[in-house]
């Protein structure tokens, strides 16, 4: 059975690009257009990994990860932050929020899949 990965990004094209890479590797993909939309979709469904942008309207990625970690069902779901931000301050914020990895856009699909395979829940 394929593993489920949620992609949270306000850019539809970026969601599409990430989705192509993940689906090509055999994962099922759930898409959300911002942090608020993503929280609404954390409805108890099994997620093996979350990939989230940082800068988004309505709710940014850091706030979303903090909120997701408060939910018992997603407390241990690994999170990869995928963003154009490369500053150490932002990375530290992501780590403090509970993210497991920080990937800077534009990403190489192979590198992304490496990170995903390392972190995805069994």
């Amino acid at each position: 059975m394929a593993k489920n990965i949620m992609i949270v990004d306000d850019s539809a094209s970026l969601r599409q690009v990430v989705g192509i890479a993940l689906r090509g590797a055999g994962y099922d993909v759930v898409e959300a257009c911002d942090g608020k939309d993503a929280l609404n979709k954390l409805d108890g469904r099994k997620l093996h990994l979350i990939i989230s942008d940082v800068n988004m309207p309505n709710m940014d990625g850091i706030s979303f990860v903090k909120a997701a970690k408060q939910l018992p069902a997603y407390k241990f779901t690994p999170v990869i932050m995928l963003t154009t931000e490369a500053g150490n301050d932002m990375k530290q914020q992501g780590q403090a929020a509970g993210a497991k990895a920080w990937v800077v856009k534009p990403f190489q699909p192979a590198q992304m899949l490496t990170a995903v395979s390392k972190l995805v829940l069994p």
Partner: protein, 408 residues
């Protein structure tokens, strides 16, 4: 602050001007008159003490008057200069206010249009790039399917080898059948040799029957000669003669039957030999045909495998190209963020101008926009590293796929 700015941009030189002359025309005239008066007194009255005192008095009065005239002139001149400066400053301020008002009106009209245009472009490119990504995603999936299916092309050789093995089994079976037929033929030939013995034996039976018949005939003669005593023996001799006749008939029938069987065996042998020759010819032809066919199929399989290998190689190259394109398409995310910041800043400026206008309409002094603070706030909104480079006047570097992954 505004007056300072206006003063800095005044279209004329400041009125402080060059250093003031020591004497004005009026004060100079008074001083010269006093000097002339003092000289006249001294010339007319000689250098008597009284005359010297009077001349000194005249000089003091003239100098005092000259000094007073100088002060009055300076005061009047200063007042005139101040009046002119105020007038010019007011004119400059009015011009500046007029120009700033025009700029604010322009900004209020054009900023929402620019912002809207930027959002429109951002939306159009986002839609187009998403559609492109979809297309390339489909291409990528199709390529993967093609590659996966082409993996089976290499099994053609295994299939051919298996077919050849099956053909070999059939051919071997055919050869074994021919061998068996050969053995059978030899046995039938051997059996044909046995029929000669049967014929000899049949002839022997006929000869024995003939002799027995003669013997029975002699016995009957001897029985007749014996008269009544030989009557019973005559009966026996007659039965023996009948048996010999039957034996002779049986011998002939055996001979005839052996002839028929021998003839049938001979025909069967002839037919079998003929078919064996045909079978051997057909087997050789079949072997040759199978070898040719397998050879051609092997050549075809080799060509097919080469083509498949080429196809796979090309597909992999295209797949890598598509991956690169998918990486490149991520520029849209950066474009969206940069355009979002630009349009957001335009909206912010528009709102700020509206607030200023509202303040002025309410008769209050509007807070002026500080450019340094504004730029600093704008810089803090940047999320793409290249924005900082551009902000400080640099040339943005080319962006490529990043290997920057940090695990916590």
């Amino acid at each position: 602050m505004r007056s300072e700015a206006a003063a800095q941009k005044l279209p004329f030189a400041p009125l402080s001007g060059p250093a003031k002359p020591l004497l004005t025309p009026v004060s100079g005239s008074l001083l010269i008159s006093a000097l002339l008066g003092a000289a006249s007194v001294l010339l007319a009255a000689g250098f008597a003490p009284l005359a010297i005192g009077l001349a000194g008095f005249l000089l003091a009065v003239g100098g005092g008057l000259a000094f007073y005239a100088r002060q009055r002139c300076d005061l009047a001149l200063g007042e005139a200069q101040s009046a002119i400066r105020r007038e010019l400053e007011q004119q400059a301020s009015a011009q500046l206010t007029q120009r700033l008002g025009g700029l604010e009106t322009l900004c209020a009209g054009v900023l929402p249009i620019w912002s809207g245009q930027i959002r429109l472009v951002g939306g159009l490119t986002e839609d187009s790039i998403t559609a492109l990504a979809n297309r390339f995603g489909d291409i990528s999936q199709d390529l993967e399917k093609t590659l996966a299916e082409s993996q089976g092309g290499g099994g053609m050789f295994e299939l051919l080898s298996e077919a050849q093995q099956q053909f070999d089994v059939i051919t071997e079976s055919f050869r074994a059948s021919l061998t068996n037929r050969q053995v059978l033929l030899e046995k039938i030939t051997a059996m044909s040799g046995n029929t000669e013995q049967l014929k000899t034996m049949a002839r022997s039976v006929a000869e024995i029957a003939k002799q027995t018949n003669l013997l029975a005939l002699n016995a009957a003669i001897e029985a007749a000669r014996a008269g009544e005593a030989g009557r019973g023996f005559a009966v026996v001799a007659d039965e023996v003669r009948k048996l010999s006749t039957l034996s002779g008939d049986t011998g002939r029938k055996i001979t005839e039957t052996v002839e028929v069987v021998n003839s049938a065996i001979a025909e069967a042998l002839a037919g079998t030999l003929k078919y064996m020759d045909q079978d051997q010819t057909q087997q050789l032809a079949a072997d040759a045909a199978i070898t040719r066919m397998v050879g051609r199929l092997r050549e075809g399989a080799t060509e097919l495998t080469d083509s498949t290998q080429l196809l796979r190689s090309r597909s992999q190259s295209i797949g890598e190209e598509v991956t690169d394109i998918l990486v490149a398409l991520q520029f849209q995310d950066r474009v969206s963020q940069v355009l979002g910041h630009v349009s957001g800043d335009m909206d912010k400026l528009q709102n700020r101008l509206r607030e200023q206008e509202a303040e002025r309409a309410a008769g209050r002094a509007a807070e002026l926009i500080d450019a340094d603070t504004w730029l600093s706030e704008l810089s803090r909104t940047y999320t793409v590293p290249e924005q900082h480079v551009v902000h400080h006047g640099g040339k943005p570097p080319a962006t490529t796929g990043s290997d920057d992954i940090t695990f916590f």
